[in-house]
């Protein structure tokens, strides 16, 4: 099953490599990983998307908690949460396709942020599966380049991850 592990850690050099190293050393999957400092510059927030059985995910969270620089770990899938990922995608857009692509971008509530006479660059935000769905609707040979941030997530309502 897919899990979204969200964690706070000390914003120190090497902290990211400890997390990445843990996953590779113990053979856990990383589907995506995104990290940036929080409003408190001494803390970084990381979102990790991973898959595994309940036993594996239990070990993943325990092992993450064991890292000295990790302050808190939650699995967002344990409760109601919102998940967003940003994608920038450059698409070949010539002739009649230009209108078609623009309509699709509107349907997915994206934005065209750069235009040439041969291409559109589109910004799209949503769950990872929504971004996948958008790409599935574009002929693959038309996709020139995609950049995705990986998912980040936050708990709904009063569910807060902070120190």
């Amino acid at each position: 099953m897919r899990h979204i592990i969200s964690l706070l850690m000390e914003n120190e050099a090497g902290a990211l490599s400890r997390v990445a190293g843990l996953f590779s050393a113990r053979g856990y999957n990383i589907e995506s990983l995104s990290v940036a400092p929080t409003e408190d510059p001494t803390l970084s927030r990381m979102t990790l998307v991973t898959t595994g059985s309940d036993e594996v995910i239990e070990q993943v969270t325990k092992q993450l908690n064991k890292l000295i620089e990790v302050v808190k770990v939650i699995d967002l899938v344990d409760g109601n949460h919102i998940e967003r990922e940003l994608m920038l995608v450059k698409i070949k857009a010539i002739g009649a396709d230009r209108d078609e692509i623009k309509r699709l971008v509107d349907i997915f509530r994206g934005a065209i942020i750069d235009v040439t006479d041969r291409s559109y660059t589109i910004e799209l935000t949503g769950t990872s599966s929504k971004l996948d769905a958008f790409l599935e609707n574009i002929e693959s040979s038309a996709v020139l380049e995609t950049v995705r941030t990986g998912a980040s997530g936050i708990g709904r309502g009063d569910w807060v991850l902070r120190v």
């Binding site: 050099a13 090497g14 490599s17 400890r18 036993e55 064991k66 000295i68 990790v70 302050v71 120190v163």
Partner: protein
């Protein structure tokens, strides 16, 4: 105005503040300023090893035998890479160490400088934590954190990498009294509800087993564990790392369990209905195949300070995360306050069953043999030292025989590389043990293959007059490799024969030690007695043992605990 100290002075002052009396190391370019400061003081004693691996093993033996943090000091580059085996050994066995490594100056880091390696990167997977001190203002607090992290929670090695320029810069020295780290707060007390549940399970048991590991030794919980086990009259088994956690001469002790555990311990483990696991981690050498282990129905109580050790390989019913002595104290208190008591009839039946298993006499060997049996050497060592020596070992058959035949009644007396299985550990570890316990009898049970992996330390032993007794069970084979090749690889002894062995007697003598060669079973006892009579000399006892002897019982890899090969 306060006096400013250099980074090198601060490093030594931190060691003094931590009460460190003895460190193990080897100098080199990046640590010259630190060595200069060591020279100017006499509070911290430095032991010069002959290889950095030995520095860490010696600090490790020092820590294991004394419950103090062991400290090693190595230079950058090869100093660190040589130390890695020692660090990984300590990490696998959860030994509290602080390793100080030199690093090239900060402005040279990343430029492939002479003797530069990414120390923090190389050691990251085998330390509890590591630091690169890039600013002298962080040095003292980093040292404080290193000692704190190494010695609390589940202990482990912590490395502090100090660039050479940081050891030269100056700042005011201020050693913090206390630390608080928001990201590191090890638990102590176990959850009260869980402990209550454990009490109910314990009292309801019909076929109980107490199974304990290195956690009992590391947390100094042997007395409490013994008290609990005695008040219940339950059978107790120890892992390789847990020997000495419960007195081996007590009738409730059913021996070591696992791959080379006793028949009775493995059978009891497999067929118990309530398992009380304390400071142990159900590793592959202990329970064999986890699926086979789970075929039998039993309830498991698991007490451990590390939550990630719980339900890792075996699902448990009552997990208790906490410091072992704290949890045991609470368990004992609750058991004393509770009206109920174990079902004595069931317990009697269970003991009868265990005695039947015991009667199988799984550790028997040919005592009348005209060739020296390695088991007999260990038995005689036990008798001659009256069971009161510190025994270190290397890795292989001799390690298993030492674990099986030396009866450890006290914790911290059995010192071996259980997790990583590091050949070359024994002698340097014994040096650390001897330095931590200057008056104690210290023996290293080893083999002719293992001993050669750190043989250079005979020189260190000479320099510091360490009167170790090296008990070399010399079968002219890498015995354990040979055993596996005999059992599982059609007797094809691929590269397991130790050809061109040195004359160990002459070798020992060339270092200024005493060497003895023992070839007859009737000479074993006399030689050992003579060796221990030479109180202030290192004696290298080279026992020519039976080349074909195997370690029994044996649970082959991938098999279940009840599927032992018996002699």
């Amino acid at each position: 105005m306060s006096v400013e100290l250099t980074g090198a002075e601060i490093t030594i002052r931190c060691l003094q503040e931590e009460g460190v009396e003895c460190i193990f190391g080897y100098p080199g370019g990046a640590v010259l300023f630190i060595y200069d400061e060591l020279f100017k003081q006499d509070q911290v004693r430095h032991i010069l090893v002959r290889h950095e691996q030995a520095a860490v093993h010696a600090a490790d033996g020092y820590a294991r035998s004394s419950n103090k943090v062991g400290v090693a000091l190595v230079t950058s580059g090869p100093g660190v890479t040589n130390a890695v085996t020692g660090i990984a050994t300590a990490y696998m066995d959860s030994i509290p160490l602080v390793i100080i490594s030199g690093q090239v100056p900060t402005n040279a880091i990343g430029l492939d400088a002479f003797q530069e390696v990414d120390t923090v990167g190389i050691t990251r997977p085998c330390v509890k934590h590591n630091f690169l001190v890039s600013d002298i203002s962080e040095l003292a607090v980093t040292m404080k954190k290193a000692f704190y992290i190494a010695s609390t929670g589940r202990p482990g090695p912590v490395l502090v990498d100090i660039p050479k320029d940081v050891t030269q810069q100056k700042t005011v020295f201020d050693y913090p009294d206390k630390l608080s780290m928001r990201s590191y707060n090890p638990v102590v007390k176990g959850n009260a509800k869980q402990i209550k549940k454990a009490v109910d399970l314990i009292l309801g048991a019909k076929r109980p087993v107490v199974y304990t590991g290195g956690g009992v030794i590391l947390s100094d919980a042997a007395k409490l564990l013994t008290e609990l086990t005695k008040m219940l009259n339950y059978p107790c088994t120890n892992t390789l790392m847990g020997l000495g956690g419960f007195p081996a001469t007590d009738k409730q002790f059913i021996g070591m369990l696992g791959m080379h555990g006793t028949y009775e311990a493995n059978m009891a483990m497999q067929y118990c209905d309530v398992l009380i696991a304390v400071g142990a981690r159900f590793d592959d050498r202990v329970i064999g195949n986890p699926k086979h282990f789970s075929n039998e129905n039993r309830k498991i109580i698991h007490i451990d300070i590390d939550p990630s050790s719980i339900s890792k390989r075996v699902k448990v019913d009552v997990p208790i995360v906490g410091n072992v002595p704290d949890v045991l104290k609470e368990l004992i208190r609750l058991l004393k306050d509770t009206e109920g008591e174990p079902d004595q009839n069931a317990l009697r039946e269970w003991w009868n069953q265990i005695d039947l298993w015991r009667a199988r006499d799984c550790l028997k060997y040919d005592r009348a043999s005209s060739i020296i049996k390695p088991q007999m050497v260990v038995e005689k060592l036990y008798e001659v030292t009256k069971g009161d020596a510190f025994i270190t070992s290397d890795v292989g058959q001799h390690q298993m025989w030492a674990a099986q035949f030396y009866k450890f009644d006290k914790p911290r007396r059995w010192i071996n590389s259980g997790g990583l299985g590091t050949m070359g550990f024994g002698m340097p570890a014994a040096m650390g043990v001897q330095l931590a316990n200057p008056k104690a009898k210290v023996a290293c049970v080893t083999g002719e293959a293992s001993i050669q992996m750190c043989i250079q330390e005979l020189s260190t032993c000479k320099q510091y007059k360490l009167p170790l007794k090296i008990v070399n069970l010399n079968n002219r084979y890498m015995g354990m490799v040979r055993q596996w090749q005999e059992f599982f690889h059609g007797n094809r002894y691929s590269e397991s024969y130790m050809d061109a062995l040195p004359d160990f007697i002459k070798l020992a003598e060339s270092y200024g030690h005493v060497g003895m060669k023992i070839e007859q079973p009737e000479d074993i006892e006399g030689a050992l007695k003579e060796a221990f009579r030479l109180k202030d000399r290192l004696v290298f006892l080279d026992f020519m043992t039976d080349q074909t002897e195997n370690v029994f019982p044996m649970v082959p890899g991938g098999k279940g605990l009840s599927e032992m090969i018996l002699v």
